[in-house]
Symmetry: C4
Subunit: 324 residues, 4 copies
Amino acid sequence: MSARQRVAELLEAHQPNDPWGRLVDYFLIGLILANVVAIILATVEPLAARYGGFFWSFEVFSIAVFTLEYLLRLWSCVDLPTREGQPPMTRLRWMLSPLGLIDLLAIAPFYVFYFIGADATHSMLMLRLFRGLRLLRLFKLTRYSPALNLMISVLRKEAGVLAAAASVLLFMLVLASWGIYVLEKDIQPEEFKDIPTAMWWAVITITTVGYGDVVPVSNGGRIFAGVVSLVGIGMMALPAAILASGFYREVHDRNATYRRAVEKALEAGRIKESDAEELEELRDKLGIDSEEAMNTLIEVRHVSGSGDRCPSCGRPFGEGESAQ
Amino acid sequence: MSARQRVAELLEAHQPNDPWGRLVDYFLIGLILANVVAIILATVEPLAARYGGFFWSFEVFSIAVFTLEYLLRLWSCVDLPTREGQPPMTRLRWMLSPLGLIDLLAIAPFYVFYFIGADATHSMLMLRLFRGLRLLRLFKLTRYSPALNLMISVLRKEAGVLAAAASVLLFMLVLASWGIYVLEKDIQPEEFKDIPTAMWWAVITITTVGYGDVVPVSNGGRIFAGVVSLVGIGMMALPAAILASGFYREVHDRNATYRRAVEKALEAGRIKESDAEELEELRDKLGIDSEEAMNTLIEVRHVSGSGDRCPSCGRPFGEGESAQ
Amino acid sequence: MSARQRVAELLEAHQPNDPWGRLVDYFLIGLILANVVAIILATVEPLAARYGGFFWSFEVFSIAVFTLEYLLRLWSCVDLPTREGQPPMTRLRWMLSPLGLIDLLAIAPFYVFYFIGADATHSMLMLRLFRGLRLLRLFKLTRYSPALNLMISVLRKEAGVLAAAASVLLFMLVLASWGIYVLEKDIQPEEFKDIPTAMWWAVITITTVGYGDVVPVSNGGRIFAGVVSLVGIGMMALPAAILASGFYREVHDRNATYRRAVEKALEAGRIKESDAEELEELRDKLGIDSEEAMNTLIEVRHVSGSGDRCPSCGRPFGEGESAQ
Amino acid sequence: MSARQRVAELLEAHQPNDPWGRLVDYFLIGLILANVVAIILATVEPLAARYGGFFWSFEVFSIAVFTLEYLLRLWSCVDLPTREGQPPMTRLRWMLSPLGLIDLLAIAPFYVFYFIGADATHSMLMLRLFRGLRLLRLFKLTRYSPALNLMISVLRKEAGVLAAAASVLLFMLVLASWGIYVLEKDIQPEEFKDIPTAMWWAVITITTVGYGDVVPVSNGGRIFAGVVSLVGIGMMALPAAILASGFYREVHDRNATYRRAVEKALEAGRIKESDAEELEELRDKLGIDSEEAMNTLIEVRHVSGSGDRCPSCGRPFGEGESAQ
């Protein structure tokens, strides 16, 4: 195995039981979390005054590590089994992939800020904005969370309906702002002086946050606000309902896919060694836990009526296995 | 194709890849959104003072376009395949359809306001109300959002149970208002002076908005308010639960309808050209995405056991297709 | 038909198309709603001062009607098909049934108040409490809402899990009160002076109402409050999740019950006249809409493969029927 | 039966109809609840001053009972059918089991506090903290709530996805704190003086609690806060959706397990006496109610087509049984 292959393996595709690969993962996860904590604490003035030097050294160290990581990933990505083709094109494609862009975003602000210099950021606001951009390093963590996969999959499949729900919410916001502006402007000319200002009240009410800094006081305004907050209940219900339906369908579909694979493997009566491995890989990819998988196996065997013995191990089935 | 047929097609039923039809859609959507933004900004006094002329010109231009659109739709609706019968009746029916009324509502306030004149609106409140009516143009957008279809379908099917949940909510509101009025009137005679006034507190609490402008201070009132806000959790849960169940059932039913059509088409062993087109149309109408449709096809083939070849394309099935 | 039978039918079990039965229903529903509005408005002092006589007359009239209704129901309940046995026992059982108790509760406060008199209610608080008891007449409406049936059924089946969720909520409330009391008592000795007082903050925070009248100000208190409000999100999620699962299962079970009845009726190949009536009755009882029922019929026919003709009407099936 | 066996039975595994076992249960549950109420009330100063002696006596009595209970459980746990092996190891394993630790936690603070003494708790804060630790006795109640079982099972199965949702929430919190700090620090230098301080606003807004003690006032800050509170709706929806999907799947899986057992028992055509008992036990363990179980039986019989008679009782099936 070449050094480049080994680096690719360590950074992206190591076996779950490779100790060096896990060490690299844990080191990078730890560094990202330490970075976020440091960036947050560096905004606290007493701490910044006292430990400013340490924060700066830690930042330089982190940037060095993340830059090295970026370059190593860019160099080794051509050896990943999922990325084929000519090296230059593969590297460009990796740079433009979501994970590649996130890795670039984690280091770019530092260099931009360093070369342009503090003079270019005229105001304190821009300075705070630039410093905080480093918080986007958090997104580097998405690489390590397999459970996010299911959530993102559900969100992508339900995107159409969620967008429709969001546009209904925007309709409601506009109409609520208009209504309260009509009803309350005469009494509270400052708080509801125009529709954009009234929208602040509308969004805080319809999301049921309810700060109470702007509140209707006329009878008409209060009745209208009551109706708007009842609508708010519905607005909370819509995304929950869409996502609940989506989660169940996604998990159900994944189980069905796994079930079809089990049925196919069971056709010959017994599960072969090679099929068992493929099933295990598919199970991992679909995020099905082993208890669920065992139940699927029992059910499939039960329906196809392949006798009283487990088709994969050959031992007789007891009912103890079917009870959870 | 006559000019009227072409207009009908452009406005209502053009093919997805007809560039002129899409241009008309995008122009109208853009104009509606620009209108809403303009109406909102026109309430901001400095902007109204400075760009008042521009806002007025834009309003006249928009009304001209929307009036033209309304007349063209009214003229051409007799050529739509879904509307048959005598032209005068068809036109009247279109005028009274929800979409026809929305289109009328988008232009009517302007003409009413113009002919009756500003003198008829004695108060500023009426003036603001009239001007804001133009915001209802937003509803013209419903025409362009196919995903709203699913939401409206779910809401219609669950209307009975949602209405029951709403009436339970109203029961709770009345009882909560009465309870807090009994317990707090002696201490806060102004905030809880009668049940209608106490209802303001009840609705803001039960929807968990919680402004904090009216708050119980006695021990009895606080205990009662705690119970009411716990009931509020349940009130938030009811519509979410009803809709989640409804969304899942609706999507499930649509998939079942599609599955039956696939089974029927597969009866002969292979899907014919004409059936494939019909299936595609049905898939579009039911809002099933192509991945889901592919899975259905694989499953149906699997259950009916029609061999190892795809019944639609005739190629042998690999397991790569069943994995997601 | 005897007069008693006719009264029983009018009040409890009339056919949906019996005009007199519907008139009785609408009159009673209208009277209950008018009562609630009158009771609420009678607490508004200017209205009470001006229309006090009218409110009193309306109250006497309502009590007369509700008393008559109660006596008629008590008299005629022995003729209801669902209540058999000896008249005295049947009447007693009706009196003790939930609906019987609600009807008694609607009139009893008036008589108790009338005979004991205003002198017995020493304080204004008791007076307000007694007057408001008449609001419980609202519960008489439950008789007329068939959709509540599904909700009550779900709530009853999920009662065990909902009670467990409620006890988890109570655990959290006690622990949150204790924590904030420990952390904030030194800084805000009045607002968090003991655990029962701190519980007011805890319940308003964990239900996400968040009035803001009592708010932690120390760093420790704010961190703890942040954790408590994140727990609040979970507390909102639990009942919604339990009920969503329950609603779906309940609707699914009802559809399965209906499906079994359809399968039984279809066994002979065609649905007989008498079976069709029974199916219609069952459909009504289970609250399945006609579109759903039609889909079930199509599916059952499809699975049992009873040819290309509708088994109930004998006409050939087109695919237009299977599309929604 | 030896005394140790009887004690084990009374405390842990008595039959549901054993009156002495139920008495022990009710006594312990009552004592725990009385303890919690006493601990809460003892923080109220007037009550503590007046009934301090009683609270102390009750505490000593409770500790005596709970210590006795702990020792008896430790002594008798070796006789439980679920715990086998050498007594010393079994006892150690019980001590380290969750229930054993909870029982220890209920009494340990008293002894620690008693031997170390009040002098060791320098501050009032530590004193309040120690006294409140006794509230953890509440967790002893988990032993008696079988419905918690289902909830814990769902939470454990969905733990991965819930953790992913929680980390998304933390991302959002960090980004929201940064954003509002950038936008509002110039205007409200005290409320948003650094990111940790701004996080207080972020968590109260994103959980939709919305106290209103810290509120953005600039236009930029308000627009950003509106976006954050809309994100809050989604954050509320995620756990509800994940749990709803999880609850439904868990209940569905349990029903499927029970169904498989029924199918197995029905294979011979009729359910034998011994099978019926086993089914009943499994039904109890899985928490399936008897109505559900009856429906499963009817359905299984229906599908396997075992005639028109109930396979367990031999009587002919009427359709009255299939209607709910």
